[in-house]
Symmetry: D2
Subunit: 448 residues, 4 copies
Amino acid sequence: MGLWDIDKIEYVGRKGGAKEGLGFRYYDADKVVAGKKMKDWLRFAVAYWHTFDQRLVDPFGDGTAERPYDKYTNPMDLALAKVDYAFEFYTKLGVEYFCFHDRDIAPEGDTLRETNANLDKVVDKIEENMKSTGVKLLWNTQNLFTNPRFVSGAATSPFADIFAYSGAQVKKSLEIAKRLGAENYVFWGGREGYENLWNTEMHREQAHMAKLFHLAADYAKEIGFEGQFLIEPKPKEPTSHQYDFDAAAALAFLKTFDLEDVFKLNLEGNHANLAGHSYQHEVRFARENGILGSLDANQGDKLIGWDMDEFPSDLYDCVAVMWEVLANGSIGPHGGLNFDAKPRRTSFAADDLFRAHIVGMDSYAAGLLVAAKMHEDHYIEDLQADRYSSYESGIGKSIEDGSATLASLEEYSLDKTQAELRAATKSDHLEQVKATINNYIVDALAEA
Amino acid sequence: MGLWDIDKIEYVGRKGGAKEGLGFRYYDADKVVAGKKMKDWLRFAVAYWHTFDQRLVDPFGDGTAERPYDKYTNPMDLALAKVDYAFEFYTKLGVEYFCFHDRDIAPEGDTLRETNANLDKVVDKIEENMKSTGVKLLWNTQNLFTNPRFVSGAATSPFADIFAYSGAQVKKSLEIAKRLGAENYVFWGGREGYENLWNTEMHREQAHMAKLFHLAADYAKEIGFEGQFLIEPKPKEPTSHQYDFDAAAALAFLKTFDLEDVFKLNLEGNHANLAGHSYQHEVRFARENGILGSLDANQGDKLIGWDMDEFPSDLYDCVAVMWEVLANGSIGPHGGLNFDAKPRRTSFAADDLFRAHIVGMDSYAAGLLVAAKMHEDHYIEDLQADRYSSYESGIGKSIEDGSATLASLEEYSLDKTQAELRAATKSDHLEQVKATINNYIVDALAEA
Amino acid sequence: MGLWDIDKIEYVGRKGGAKEGLGFRYYDADKVVAGKKMKDWLRFAVAYWHTFDQRLVDPFGDGTAERPYDKYTNPMDLALAKVDYAFEFYTKLGVEYFCFHDRDIAPEGDTLRETNANLDKVVDKIEENMKSTGVKLLWNTQNLFTNPRFVSGAATSPFADIFAYSGAQVKKSLEIAKRLGAENYVFWGGREGYENLWNTEMHREQAHMAKLFHLAADYAKEIGFEGQFLIEPKPKEPTSHQYDFDAAAALAFLKTFDLEDVFKLNLEGNHANLAGHSYQHEVRFARENGILGSLDANQGDKLIGWDMDEFPSDLYDCVAVMWEVLANGSIGPHGGLNFDAKPRRTSFAADDLFRAHIVGMDSYAAGLLVAAKMHEDHYIEDLQADRYSSYESGIGKSIEDGSATLASLEEYSLDKTQAELRAATKSDHLEQVKATINNYIVDALAEA
Amino acid sequence: MGLWDIDKIEYVGRKGGAKEGLGFRYYDADKVVAGKKMKDWLRFAVAYWHTFDQRLVDPFGDGTAERPYDKYTNPMDLALAKVDYAFEFYTKLGVEYFCFHDRDIAPEGDTLRETNANLDKVVDKIEENMKSTGVKLLWNTQNLFTNPRFVSGAATSPFADIFAYSGAQVKKSLEIAKRLGAENYVFWGGREGYENLWNTEMHREQAHMAKLFHLAADYAKEIGFEGQFLIEPKPKEPTSHQYDFDAAAALAFLKTFDLEDVFKLNLEGNHANLAGHSYQHEVRFARENGILGSLDANQGDKLIGWDMDEFPSDLYDCVAVMWEVLANGSIGPHGGLNFDAKPRRTSFAADDLFRAHIVGMDSYAAGLLVAAKMHEDHYIEDLQADRYSSYESGIGKSIEDGSATLASLEEYSLDKTQAELRAATKSDHLEQVKATINNYIVDALAEA
C-alpha cells in the first residue's frame, strides 16, 4: 500500500458509512458548489511541522507520536525520507498544497552555511516530488523562535547579531519560495513581542520588525518572487504580548510602518479566540479591510488559555468562516486553508494523521455547503439589507453621501419625541437568527 | 460644615495618621516632584456620573447609595442641587477638574429641544460655579447608550434616525464644551459595536462612526472649539465586541478613516485588562504612537470578566502608568487623571465618596513619587540602553540606519557558529527587575 | 387571539417552514422518544423573572422591552394582570411548568407583613390559574439579593437582622411552595459570597448559610412540604466569589455541613462556563455523584466574562446535556428544564418572548433526538466499554475488587519494558469522536 | 568558590545595597518575628525539577538554560553530579529543605527494576549529603505524567497496566520518603483528568485515583512512614480538566472517597489563578477546612492562561498568604514554602537561579513582616469582629446557638420597615481597607 499503511481516501458521502473515519462524508473535491469546485474554494494544505515533525509533546510530557519513519536515526536520512512520506500523504489524502518552515524540513548545522547546504538537499527532493505529484506550495516561512538564540526575539531581539542572522535566514527562505513557486510567504511573529515591558523598547522593536519586512520585500523584488506576503496574528504565547496581537493590531502596524501595500493576513481560529475574538470576527475584519490573505484551519477550546491547534470540527465556526470566504469570492488572492493543527496527544497512532485531516476537511467542506446554501438564499444579505435600509434614502442617505451636517441632523431631530425615536428602532429577533443557522446546517447537510 | 458633612481634605503625610481615611498620605498638591507640582502632573478629575449619579446598582441589585441630596424628588431641582454638592465636593477634595456626560447633569425631556433647555439651565449654574471656584472642565462627552433608542448603537445604529439624533446631541455637547472651556472632548463607544456579526455590516457601521467624528471635528472648527478630541477604547460590554477594542484597534481605525490628526486616546486600566492587556501596555502603546491623550484612573480584578470601575489602589499599576507619564513629559497635551470609578456597592455611605477618591489620589501620588525616583536614577533608561546597545554601532547601526540589506546580513552571519550566536544574547535577569520595582516602591514611599 | 397577539404554537416539523419562527421544528410534545414522551423528558419551564419582569436593562442601558401589559401602572394591578398573561403564555407555548422568585410576582410593601399580604393575593390568582390550565410549579425560590438590605448577602450577611429577615422570607416562600405543590425548592446564592476576603469570615458565613438551609429543611418537614431542595451553583457575579462556585464546591459544602441528604443541584450552562467548565462537565459531575436535581436551560458566550442568560441554541451543548439526562433516566427525580434566559436586549418585541422560547425548546428537543439516537446505537457506551476493558479482568480487576496491593502491582510491573508499557496504551482517535458527534447531529435531525 | 561561582548569600538589609541581587533585603533567617524565627515560619524549599533539571523550554522553543554541570553527558554521571550542585546550592542560599519527583533525580531504565536501581544510587548520595549539610526533605513525589505511557493518565488511565505501573512507582517513592525522612508526600494530579468527556468514565477514574491513594496510605502504614500526604490542586493543563480542580473540588473528592483523614492540600498561587481564584482564597479555604498542608510559592500572570511558574514577587499575594499562615500558627503541621518556580526563559544564566530564589525568599519574608505587623495591630481581626458583632448577642446569637427557628425569625422581622432594615447594614469602606494594606506594606518594610 505504499509507505503509509492506508488506501487513498475517497468521497463516500453522508450515507456511505464514513464512520470508520477513512472516507470523506462531505468533501468531494471536484463537486461544483457556488460556481467553483470544492477543492478550489478550499485549497487545503498540510502543515509540515505538525503532521510530519510534531512528536505530540506538551509542557508536561514527552512525545507520544508513532510514525512509520521513526526507524530513521540519522537526521539527514530522516529529513530526506520524510519527503517521500509527505508527498505520499498529500496524494493519498487528496490535498494539493503544503506549507513548511525552513527548519521543519532539514536539520540545522553549526553555521548557517551548513544549515543552508542541508536545506538545499531536501529542497531538491521536494522540488522533484512537486513536479511528479503536482502538489504545490501554498506558503513557506522561516522558524525564528525555536533555537535558543531567539530567546528574546528575532527581528525584535535586542541583540543585533540575532537580527542579522534572522535576515540571512529570511533571505534563504525567500530564495526557496521563489524556486518552489510558493503562492504566499508567511511571517508568524514567533517571539516578536515582549515578556515584560519594563526592559522593552516596544516601538523600537516594532520598527526593527518592520525593517525586516521591508528588507524582505526589497529582496523579493530583486529576485522576482511575486507571492503574497502574509502576517499571522497571535496575541500571546510564547511571549506575554505578541506584537501581531490580532487583525486590528496588525493593520495598525502595517499602516504605521508603510507596509499595507505589501502584506495581507494569514488568520487562525485558535489565535482569534486567544485574543478574545471569534474566528468569524477576525476573518470579517480582514475581508472588509482588504487584507484577507489566507487561513489557518484549526480550533481551540474557549475555556482553555493556550494554543491547542486542534483539528477543526466545530461546524458553527466552519460555516461562519466559509460564509466570509464566499462573500469574498475566495479565501484571498492566493489563499488556502492550511491545517495548522495536530492530533490530540492521545491520538498518537500514525493513521490518526489521516483521520484528523479528514475530520478537518469534512468540517470545512460542510461549512462550504451550508454557507453556499445561505448565500444562494440571500438569507444574511437580505437580513442586513433590511436592517440598514434607512440609510438608502432620506436622512440616512444624506449621512452616507456627505451632505448632512450636525446642524442638518439637529434640525431633523430636535422635535422628535421619545416615542417616535423608539419607533425608529426594530427588534432584530436575534435568537431566531441563531436558530436559522442551525436549520441551515441540518438542511444543507441532510441533502449531502 | 457645608453640604457634605466633612472638612476639607488635607495632606497629613505618611506618619500623619491617615488611617482614618480622611487625609492625604502622599498627595501634597503643591509639592514639586520631577520639576512640576504634583497637581500639575496628575490633574485629577472627578467623574460626575459615578460620583453624583451612580446609585451603586448592579445587574442583580438595586442601588445602595446614600447621598445627602436624596431628599430632592423633582428631577430639575435635584439636577440643580447636585451642582452645588459637586463643586463643594471638588473644593473640599482639592481636585481642580471634573468631567461629565450631557445626561449626567440634567434630565431628559420628551424632545431634544426640551432636553437641551434643561441642559442649559444646569450649564448656567455650572458655569457660575466654575468661575467662583476655579474648577475646570477636563472633558465632557455625550451619553449615547442609556436611552432605549440606542439599543443597537448610536453612530453605528442600523437606524438612520438614531444616527441623526446622535449627531444633534453631539452638536449641543460641543457647544457646551466650547462654552465651558473643556480641555478635551471624549467619545466612549457605548454601544458602538455588535452583539452578533451575522446581522451586522461591520465596516459600514465603522464608516458611520467615522462620519460622526468628522462631522464633530468640522463643527468644532466652525464654533472655534479647540479642545483635544479623544476616543476611549473598551473591548466589550455592553456589546459583545466594541469597535474601539483597544489602543491598537483605535489606531487602525483612526488611520483607516483619516482621523489620526484629530483624535488621541483616553485610556482606562479596567478596559485594558478586559482586552487582555496590562494598563502599562496600553499607555506605552499610545505614548509611543503619539496618541496618548488622557487617562481614566480606575482598576478591575483580572479574575473578573466585567467592568468593575474600582478606585485605583494597586501600586504596581500606578507606578507603571506614572512612569510612562513622566517619560511623556505629561499625561498628554491636555490630559488628566479622571476617576472613572465608583465605590464598591458595599461602600455606600456618603463619606465613602471622599474616602475612595482619597485612596485613588494617594495611590497615583505614590505612583508619581516612585516613578520619579526611578527616572531620577535612570534605572529603566539605563537598563534599556544597555540591553539594546548592540544597535548603536556595527551591524546593529547598519540595520537602523538603513544601509543593511539581506545580502549584507547574510554575509555577516553565514559562518557564525551556534555558540557564537548564543554568546550574542544576554540574560535579562527579569526576576531581579521585578524585585527592584518592589524596592523602589518601598524606598521611595518610606521617604514620603 | 387573547392577551398575546399570537396563535398557539404548533409542531410543524423540519420541512414545515418553521423559519418564520412561530412553530416547532423538533419539539413534538407527545412524540415518544427513548420510551417517554418528549415533554416528559424535557419538562420545560418558563422563568417568571426573565419572561414577565425583565425589562432588558444592562449595566449601561435602560430597559428596551415592549410588553402588552406595559399599560398597567399600579404595581398590584400589574402583578395581578401579569398572572393572566403568564398563564396564557404557558398555554400558547405548550409549556407545563413555571418557576418564580417571591419578588417576581408581587411588589414589596414597607414591611414583610405587607409584602406577604401582597404575595397572598397574587398566589391566590396563580393557584386558580394552575387549576384551570393544569400548568404546574417546577420550583419557586426567594429573592434575597435585589433589595439594598442584602448588600452584603442574606444568610451570609454580617448583619444578623438581615439573616433573620431572610429566614422569615424563606418561611413564607416554603408555605407558598407547599400550597402550590412545587416539585422543587431552589436556593441560588445571590450575594452569598464575598466582595473581598480581608473583611470576610468565610467559614462562618458558610456555616450561617448552612444554618438557613437546615432551618428551611426543618420547616419543610414541619409543614409537610416534600419537594426536592436544590442549590444552584454560580462562581461569581454579582460578588467576586460565590460560595456555590460550581458543582464540586457545592458538593463539598453539602458534605461539610451535613446537608447531602437534603439537597441536590440545579445546574446552569452559563454558570458552568463562568466557572471554567463545560455544561457537560457540571451535569456529568452531578449525575455521577447522585446530586443531579434540575437544570436551567441557557447559554453564554465563552469569550464573555459575565452572565448572559441567552436562550440555548448551541446544539453541541444540548446534545451533551440530553445525553447525560438519558443516561440518568431523567433530569432528576423532580427536575425540569427551566429557561433561565432572556431575549437579547435587541430582541425587545413582545413576540420575541415566544420566538426565543421556541428556539430554546427546539434546541433541547433536537438535543434529545440526537442523544437518543446515540444511546440507541450504544455509541458512547461501547466506546467507553472498549476503552476501559482492561479493568474487567486480570490485574485491572484486582485493582477494582480491592485485592491488589502496591506490592502485587510492583511484582506485576517490575520487569515490563518501556515498549511493553507503551503497547498497553491505545490511541483514542479523539478527532473522529468529535466528527461522529457532528454526524449524529446531522443524521438524527435529517430524519426529524 | 565551589561548584557555583557565587558566595554564600547573606542578609544585608533594606539599606544594604541588595540591588545587585545577591543579598537578602528582608530575609534574615534567625530573626524572630511573631514569636518564631523567620526560617521556621517560612521553611523554604528548593524544587529539584525546576532548579536543577529545567532547561527553560517552552512549547515553541528549545531550552536556553546555562548550567555549570552541562559538561556531563552520561545520564548517571550527570544525575550524581547534580546532587553535589544541589546541596551546595541549598547551603549557599541558606535553604533548609528540598523537594523532588523520583524522575528528577535519576534517569529511567528500560524496566522499573533498572530505574529503581538508578534511583537507589542517587538516593544514597542524597542521603549522605543530607547528613553532612543538615538539609531536609520537605516532600518527595512521583512523576506519573512525562513518560508517553501516561498519555491518558496514571491512576486514572483507562489502561490497567498503567495503573499497576503507577502503583509500583509510588511504592518505591514511599520507601524513599521513609528512608530520607520526608515530612510530606505529595500527589500532583499530572494527567489525572480528561481531555474530552465523551470517552471518559469520570467517576470510575476518580475512584481509581482514590484507590491508589488508599493503597499508598496502607503501604505507608506498613512501612511506618508518618509524613503528611498532600494533594496539589490544579484546574487544567496538561489536560482540559484536572480532577483536583481547586481546593473545594479536592475537599469534595477527599470526603467522597473517605480520604479526609489521610490527606491535606499543597496549594499553589499560579494554579489558584488558573482556577479563577486568588491565592488568598485557596489558602483561606484550606485553612478554615483544616486541610492546609503545605504551599508552593510561585505566581502567574492573571492575563495569561497557562501555568507560568514565575518566582513570586507580588507583595500583595505574599502578604495575603503569610497573613493566613500566621492566623494558622504555621503553614501546616509539616508544611513549607516550596519554590515551584523557574526563572523566565530569558533569565537563562546560572546565577539567575540564585537571583530568582532570593527574589522569592525576600518577597515572602516581606510578606511575613507585613502580615506580622497587621496581626500585631489586630487590624483585620478587629475589622472582622466589628463587622460580625451582631451575631454576638440577641437575634444573631440565637441564630448561631441553634435556638432560632424560621418562626422566631419571622416574628422578629415581620414588622420591621425597609428603613429599619437598611439601617441594620453598614458600609464596609472597602477602598480604605485596600489602602490600609498598602500602608502596612510601606510602613512595615520601611522599618526593615
